[in-house]
Each structure stands twice: as C-alpha cells, then as structure tokens.
C-alpha cells in the first residue's frame, strides 16, 4: 500500500460513521462485561438472561412493548426541544404533572361520565399538565434568565414532592394514606388490551403517531424549519426576524404535552398500577434523553433505539430475579452505550479537525 492510499484508508476509517458506531457498541459491551465479571457473574449468561427476559415469552414481549410507549412519547417530545437547542431536563417533572392532571380529572369525573369519555378527557388533561409544566421551565429561561437545565431540575423536584403531598394528603386512600399511591382506578378506566397479549393497541398507536408526526413536522413545516434555525444559531435566527421567544415556549409546551401524555399512559396504560404514586415517571424521561442523543436527533432512529432500551430495561429485571444481581445493570449498559457513542463522535471530530488544520 503506498502512503497516499494508506492516508485515504485512515481518513475513511475516521469518517465512516458505521464503523465508529460498531466500535463504540462493542466497547460498551466489553465494558459492561468487565463490570459483570467484577461482580462475579458470567457476562454471556447475563446478556442471554437480559435477552430472554425481554423476548423469552409473549408476556415478556408485551411487557417490553408497554414500557416502550412512555419512552417513545418522551423521545418525540425531546426531539422538539433538542431541535430548538434546549436541554429539557425537566421532562421527568412534565411526565409527573401529566399523570397528576390525568389522575385529578379522572377522580373528579369518573362517577359522572362514561369511562371512554373520562379516559379521553384525562388524556387531554395530561397533555395540558405536561405542557404547562414545560412552559414553566421555558418561561423561567426566557424571563427569569434561569438556564433550562437548572430550572427543569428544580421543577422535577417540585413535581415529585407534589405527588407525595397529594398521595399522603388530599388524594389519600380511604382510611390509610401510604406512599404506595392513590386508590387504584377500576378496570373500566384501564386502556383495553388484546386478548392473551397484554398490550394496548391504543398506547402503541399513540406512541408511533407522536413520533411520526413530530418527525414530519420538523422536516416539512415552517415551524420545524424555524425551530431548527433557533436551535442552530439563536442570534442569526433573531436577526432574521424569527421570534425566539415564541419558538422556545412552543418547543417546551409541545415537549411537555407529549411527556404529559406519557404520564397519562402511566396512569391508565397496561403496565401501570392504575393510580398515582410518587416517582411515577420512573426515569422514562431521562431514558428518552439517552435515546434521542443516541439517535442523533433522528425521529426514525428513535423508534428502534427506544424499543431496544425498553428491552434492556425490562430484560435486566431478570438479573435480579434469577441471579441476585442488581437490575440497574441494565442502566449501566444503556449509559455506557450513549457515552461510548458520544466519545467516539467527539474523537472523530477532534481527529478530523486536526487533519484539516
């Protein structure tokens, strides 16, 4: 191989995203395996347990699919805020507020309207609750000069505390108030599922529709285009006469609404406990942040990646049940994947930058 060919090959190796990503995924797996070995477990055994825990039976697959929906909804929302250049860390709180609004509405109306109507109205309440909480973070950023990361973090805590207060206070179960949650809703207020396959087609449809709608809106509408302009260069977008204020608030509102809908799913959906309890958001929002970053803001890629993440989360539960290992090892694998991909990208741009200098 002559020197110039060698250089071309080097360049190609650095530029090729596929190779980079495969290398990063391998690295993440190896690193996870090392951790498993340190814990005295066999990595191959653990990985196969995760796989069988996720796909081993139809009921396990159903479980994965129901965990997939909230992540999908949150990912759809985060695509909007990330496009606008915003770090909506407050998404967890927005999920919680969606659940709170939905629960509140259902408690108010469950005896006076038919269940279907109550469910639909509750969905809108969830959308509203999440949207308001999201726009709160947006407002803090725009008018209070509070970075949305810190604002969102604070609002997450407030939303969490609010659920504790509601569950132990005004909405406590008759007789004993406990942090296990409010009085569960009757099965008439559960989303219908397939017979013999515990998955609600409504949930799955909503999740997929949300991500398709968001993906196409970001590509094909003027709103999406302007949002991207704001995200890529705030100052230039402003100078072009685009209202940064309006687009920031809208982005937070939309993301919050979708997160709120995820909150509704967590109250009425298949995998839920059918009540409001503290920490109801269960980290789905944060998981979605990993998904969207890993998908590099692509709506299309967010679908399989969120499914994959849901599978790891559910599959790793088997580690605890069958091998007395902590189920949070699934989180380690997910986090390692993201970090490896980000580091690989960082190294790539660094090497390219050096070459071009």
């Amino acid at each position: 191989m002559n020197p110039s060919e060698e250089k071309d090959l080097n360049n190609w190796l650095i530029r090729s995203n596929t190779i980079l990503q495969i290398a990063a995924i391998l690295f993440a797996l190896v690193f996870s395996a090392v951790i498993l070995l340190m814990l005295g477990a066999s990595p191959l055994d653990a990985f196969s347990l995760i796989l069988s825990g996720a796909f081993g039976s139809s009921s396990k697959l159903a479980y994965v699919m129901t965990a997939w929906v909230p992540v999908l909804l949150c990912s759809a929302g985060l695509l909007v805020t990330f496009t606008a250049g915003l770090w909506n860390i407050g998404i967890e709180g927005q999920v919680v507020m969606g659940a709170v609004f939905a629960t509140g509405l259902m408690q108010m109306l469950q005896d006076s309207f038919p269940p279907a109507v109550v469910l639909i109205l509750a969905a809108f309440a969830g959308l509203l609750g999440g949207a308001l909480w999201g726009m709160f973070a947006g407002g803090l950023r725009l008018y209070g000069n509070v970075n949305e990361i810190f604002g969102g973090l604070g609002l997450n805590f407030i939303a969490g505390s609010l659920t504790v207060y509601l569950v132990l206070g005004p909405w406590k179960r008759p007789g004993i108030g406990s942090t296990s949650g409010t009085q569960p809703f009757p099965p008439s207020l559960w989303l219908p599922t397939f017979k013999g396959f515990q998955v609600s087609p409504i949930e799955i449809l909503l999740g997929l529709m949300a991500i398709i709608l968001v993906g196409s809106a970001l590509r094909g509408t003027h709103f999406g285009l302007r949002l991207r302009a704001v995200g890529k260069n705030l100052r230039a977008a402003f100078l072009k006469g685009i209202s940064v204020e309006k687009h920031t608030l809208l982005a937070f509102g939309l993301c919050g609404a979708l997160a709120g809908l995820a909150g509704w799913v967590l109250v009425v959906g298949t995998s839920s406990r059918h009540n409001l309890f503290p920490l109801i958001s269960s980290g789905y929002g944060f998981l979605a942040i990993l998904v969207v970053l890993l998908a590099n803001l692509s709506a299309m890629w967010s679908v399989p990646i969120s499914f994959f993440f849901a599978a790891i989360s559910m599959g790793s539960l088997q580690l605890a049940l069958q091998r007395q290992l902590d189920s949070s090892l699934g989180g380690v694998i997910q986090g390692m994947l993201l970090l490896s991909i980000l580091v690989a990208k960082g190294l790539q741009s660094r090497l390219l930058f050096r070459r071009e200098r």
Binding site: T221, L225, S243
Partner: protein
C-alpha cells in the same frame, strides 16, 4: 528588558494578520505601535504576551530566544499585557484580583499582599480600596488594578492595548504619568493605539502597521501626514459620487442619543434620502456601531427620535423595524448572518415572511436556484452555507435580504473579500440604491468609504462629523478618523 520580534507571521485561515513583522524595543522606552483596526497590532501583541503562538518567527528577550505556551509563561518571563477590555473578575474584590495569578505556595499571605498592593498603588498615586468589589470600579480603575497586578508579578515589559478607549481624561492623564514613571524605572512600555494624538504626545519611537506589515518605524516627533500615510497607505482616492439624484426622505434621526457601557453618541441629527449611500467612518468602537444598531432597532436610544419613511418608530421592537422596511446585515457572516448547518434552500424558506404551514420545498429550491444565478453565488441549493467561501457567503446574505427594503444597514460589507467580490457586492448594492434603497454602512477602508458613499459620518470617541465625500481625499478623511478637528 529589550524586546525583539523577528519575522513574525500569523494567519487566521485566509486572513494574514501578521506578515513578516519585525519590531525592536529598547529597555526603558515608551514605544508606540500605531495602526488602523485590523492592521494586526493586537495579534502581534497577543503573540508577544503568549496568548497566541506565531506560525513563523521568533521572540527574543534580551537577546535570548523564548517560546511562550501560555500567557502565564510570558508573565513569568516578564511580559504582561493589559487588554482592551479588562480581563479581571468583577465579582471578586480588588485584593483577590491582585492575588490571582501570583505563583507561590498554596496558602495566601493576605497581610503581606495587602501591604504590597497599598505600596504599589501609592507609588503611582492610584486610589484603590483593596476591599472594594471590582464590579464597582470604573474601567480606568480596573486598568490601574491590572497594571499593579502585572507589576506585582514582576513584569518588565508592559503592553497596553488601546488603553484609553473607555476612560476619563483625568484617568488618562494619571495613566500617562504612571507610564512615564515606569519607563523611568527602566521598564519597557509598548503602547498600542490608533489615536495619533496620544501616540504623538506619549511615545519616543513608533512603529506603524498596516494590513499585517510594518509600513514605517520613526523617531518622534514626526509629521502627522506621514504617519497617516503609513497607516492608510497611498491616500490618493478622492470622493467621486458628486451628482447623484436622491429621492424622498427614508431615514430621519432627530437629536438621537445612544450609548452602551463604554461609549455615548449624543444628539445626532441626520436625514437620509432614497438612493443615498452613507459611510460610517471611524476606528472600531468609536460610536458608529451604536448608530447602526439604533437604526436597526437593536439598541434603544436614550433620547431623540427615529423615523423611517416619515413614520416615527422610536423604541419599537426589532421586528417592527423589519416590517417598516429596515434590513440589517451583520458583520459576522457565520456568527450572526447565516445559520451554519443549513442549506441555501433552507435559508430561502426561512426568510419567507408569510409562510404557509408546510414548506414548499420545490418552490424553495427553485427560488434558491434563481438567487444563486442572480447573485452569482458559487454553490448549489443543497450546499451548506458554511461550505461557501467568504465572498459567496456575503452574496448569499445579500441575496436573502428583502428586495423591497427601504433602508439597508451593513457592517463592513466587503471585509475579508477580494477585489472582484467587493466590486460585485457593490454592483448589487448600487442596483438596489437605484431602486430607491438607502444604505448606511460601516467600513474601515478609506477607499471604500470615499468611493461608495455620498456622505461620510466620521466618528471619534462618540463625537460625529458629517461631510460630503465629493472631492474629499483620503488624507483628510484619515486625519479626521484619527481625531483631527474633534478636540
């Protein structure tokens, strides 16, 4: 300590900031470095003080070649720089700022340090309270503090980059006294400025830079005309736009006062008519940027009125100015003008004022192709703007400004462009003036100002002089930029 810079080269991409610069300054000398904005003075001094490393060339201190990898290293070897904008910590106290950057043990000896600070301040008759918050000090006092800090660190060579832009006359006098005192102690002082009068009164020897090269090294006193010629090159251009037909009033400023934290332009009145081109001259930051921003609706004036086509829009929002027919073209092409990561087609769709809900990508692509042809942009509709060359980026910016604008405001329309691109841009601009657009532009190029504008507003320290360009020559304009006629 004697300083020598030998054959210094520094490039930023295609921009040649320094090209073979030589400089030699003896110890105990008050040395002037004179030049227009963008002449390469700051770059050269940043190289000498370790902020930048040269692409080629060497630095000698007392005959020894040195290499700095950081400003801290430069300070350790005795070279300190006072920057144009104070690089201090406003949230900290005077004492803490004085302590910062001092080498030594982990523990601070506050008592000893305080004594040193007070002594040093006393020596130069600076009145600094060690416990005051830096954010409560004036710019002049912050400079004094920074000078003391550098001296406290044992600096032998003190570089001052445009130190007088934001300080009062009394503070300036005190500063100059201190500089004389320092030179008397055998320290080397390099005074970087574009203000002729100050350099003339302060320095004993001067090097003039223009476009990255040394154009002269002279002992003072030296005639002003000579210095100006070195600063601006051959000043043979004479204003040519003598008989241009002008239309109705497009922009009217009435007793306009605008200010930012360091500068105020007071009571400016101006009437601009359709088709008129007005150049805003002056050294960077002399007030011209304030007027341009105020006319764009980006800076709210503290007094006076702004009228666009006889409609008073003082104090309205930037969007309102856009709707009134004002278009603003910023200097930072990729920072403020265009959006990196988006294509020409996407930019076309983005400036659609009343868009439908969905983007019509076919139409946008067609419009982009048409603009590319009209404005002779070397690119495709799918080209990302950051892949275009500077000249093509400038044309792109211009192509996306609304055609119907009444008033076009531009910062440095030809900065960084070659002759051909510059000519082309101005051809496009003149086309617009013939259709009734009035243009206000800032520039630091005397030829451009004289060639292109009907009138020039010269700014000096916030003061403004208005003059017709017809038959004015470059020397006269250069003198006025340097402050002649303002004092």
């Amino acid at each position: 300590m004697k300083v020598e810079l030998k054959d210094i080269h520094k490039y930023f991409g295609p921009i040649r900031a320094n090209e073979g610069v030589n400089l030699s300054v003896e110890a105990g000398m008050l040395y002037g470095l004179l030049g227009e904005n963008g002449a390469g003075k700051s770059t050269l001094m940043k190289i000498l003080s370790g902020f930048l490393s040269p692409d080629k060339g060497e630095i000698l201190l007392d005959g020894q070649t040195v290499r700095f990898n950081s400003p801290a290293q430069a300070v350790a070897l005795g070279v300190g720089m006072l920057h144009q904008d104070p690089l201090d910590f406003p949230a900290l106290r005077v004492m803490d700022n004085f302590l910062l950057g001092s080498p030594g043990s982990w523990l601070l000896d506050r008592h000893q340090t305080r004594k040193r600070l007070v002594e040093l301040a006393h020596q130069f008759d600076f009145k600094l309270d060690p416990d005051a918050l830096v954010s409560n000090l004036s710019i002049g006092e912050r400079q004094q503090l920074e000078i003391l800090r550098l001296l406290g660190l044992g600096v032998h060579i003190l570089i001052l980059d445009e130190p007088t832009t934001a300080i009062s006359a009394q503070q300036r006098e005190k500063l100059f006294e201190a500089l004389h005192q320092l030179a008397g102690q055998g320290k080397t002082v390099i005074f970087v400025s574009h203000k002729l009068e100050e350099v003339k009164s302060l320095c004993s020897k001067v090097t003039v830079l223009a476009q990255g090269k040394v154009t002269g090294e002279v002992e003072m006193p030296y005639p002003t005309e000579g210095l100006i010629q070195m600063m601006f090159g051959q000043t043979i251009t004479v204003g040519k736009r003598c008989a241009v037909e002008l239309g109705h009033s497009v922009l009217e400023l009435e007793n306009l006062t605008v200010s930012d934290w360091r500068m105020e332009v007071k009571g400016l009145s101006l009437k601009v008519r359709a088709g008129e081109v007005i150049g805003l001259a002056g050294l960077e930051g002399s007030g011209q940027h304030l007027i341009l921003k105020a006319c764009a609706g980006l800076l709210r004036p503290s007094a006076g009125r702004i009228r666009i086509a006889n409609q008073d829009i003082t104090g309205r929002s930037y969007r309102h100015f856009i709707e009134a027919g004002v278009a603003y073209m910023p200097a930072g092409r990729l920072e403020e003008g265009l959006i990196a990561g988006m294509t020409l087609t996407e930019h076309t769709a983005l400036v659609d004022r009343n868009p439908p809900f969905f983007v019509d990508w076919d139409l946008a692509t067609k419009t982009a192709s048409r603009r590319i042809e009209e404005y002779n942009i070397k690119g495709e509709p799918t080209t990302l703007v950051e892949e275009l060359s500077g000249g093509n980026q400038q044309r792109t910016l211009l192509a996306f400004l609304p055609h119907s604008s009444k008033l076009l405001l531009m910062e440095h329309p030809s900065r960084g462009l070659d002759m051909e691109s510059t000519e082309y841009i101005w051809k496009l601009l003149l086309n617009r003036t013939e259709r009734g657009t009035a243009i206000l532009f800032t520039s630091s190029d005397l030829d451009e100002l004289l060639d292109r504008s009907d009138r020039v507003l010269t700014f000096f320290g916030g003061k403004v002089r208005i003059r017709e360009t017809c038959n004015v020559n470059g020397l006269q304009l250069g003198e006025s930029i340097g402050g002649k006629g303002f004092e």
